[in-house]
Symmetry: C2
């Protein structure tokens, strides 16, 4: 397990450390795409409708890989196809995202689809998490190398 080192960060506070690693708009969006929407290729992140630019996406993926949050696999027959996926360190950010979603459910005016998804997640959070992690496990054990 790769632990991030304090010398990467500016103060001794754990929250400050986390924000030094993830305190930008895009890191959590990319992590969300992998965790919740099964997006793993560069063009899939680009097409997610968030308006991320290619250079920022390239930079954020490198940063997340350097931090041990994201890993990379190549397609077995087409080495040009790169698949980015979350490590355990990355998947363990799910509770942070879960709490963000709960807060949004209370304090942000959302469309009906989003409201229904949040209601389902709140109704049975364990089943929701289990489904997410099952998908992540399938990915982890896939034959892509």
């Amino acid at each position: 397990m790769k632990k991030s080192k304090p010398e990467d960060c500016r103060s001794g506070c754990p929250i400050s450390h986390v924000l030094d690693i993830l305190g930008d708009r895009w890191s959590f969006i990319i992590i969300r795409d992998m965790l919740l929407f099964g997006r793993h290729e560069f063009h899939e992140f680009m097409d997610a409708g968030e308006g991320i630019s290619t250079n920022i996406l390239t930079d954020r993926l490198k940063h997340l890989m350097k931090q041990g949050i994201v890993n990379l696999r190549l397609h077995p027959t087409n080495k040009k196809r790169k698949f980015y996926y979350l490590t355990q360190k990355g998947r363990d950010l799910m509770p942070v995202i879960h709490e963000m979603v709960c807060w949004a459910g209370t304090y942000i005016e959302l469309n009906e689809i989003a409201r229904k998804r949040i209601a389902a997640m709140k109704k049975d959070p364990q089943a929701f998490m289990k489904r997410i992690f099952q998908e992540a496990d399938i990915w982890e054990k896939s034959e892509l190398k």
Copy 2:
């Protein structure tokens, strides 16, 4: 209760909405200062050791007030003294911060003081939250207007 409106945000996803509001390094640092360290005045945020600049702090406080996350009170006898404090909407970000701290406890190399604080928080999270919210209630009911 002030709900943030979707037109403020760029996509329909709740996580994207949250990150449009809070997806920068400093918003969560300011919220942390109020929630966990009892800092409420401009100079206290400046002196927190994080290296925030005066113009960014001014901008972030305005932004958090506009979003209904932070409110402002003036000292009863010295109107130049401004006290910033979290609304209920702001305090309800505590679970997000709590999960960030738990993740940091597992994946970031922390100093001994931080490790002990996280261990205490994990041992009895309800007592930890209760203490935080009692302090916030005292602030809410104070005579500052």
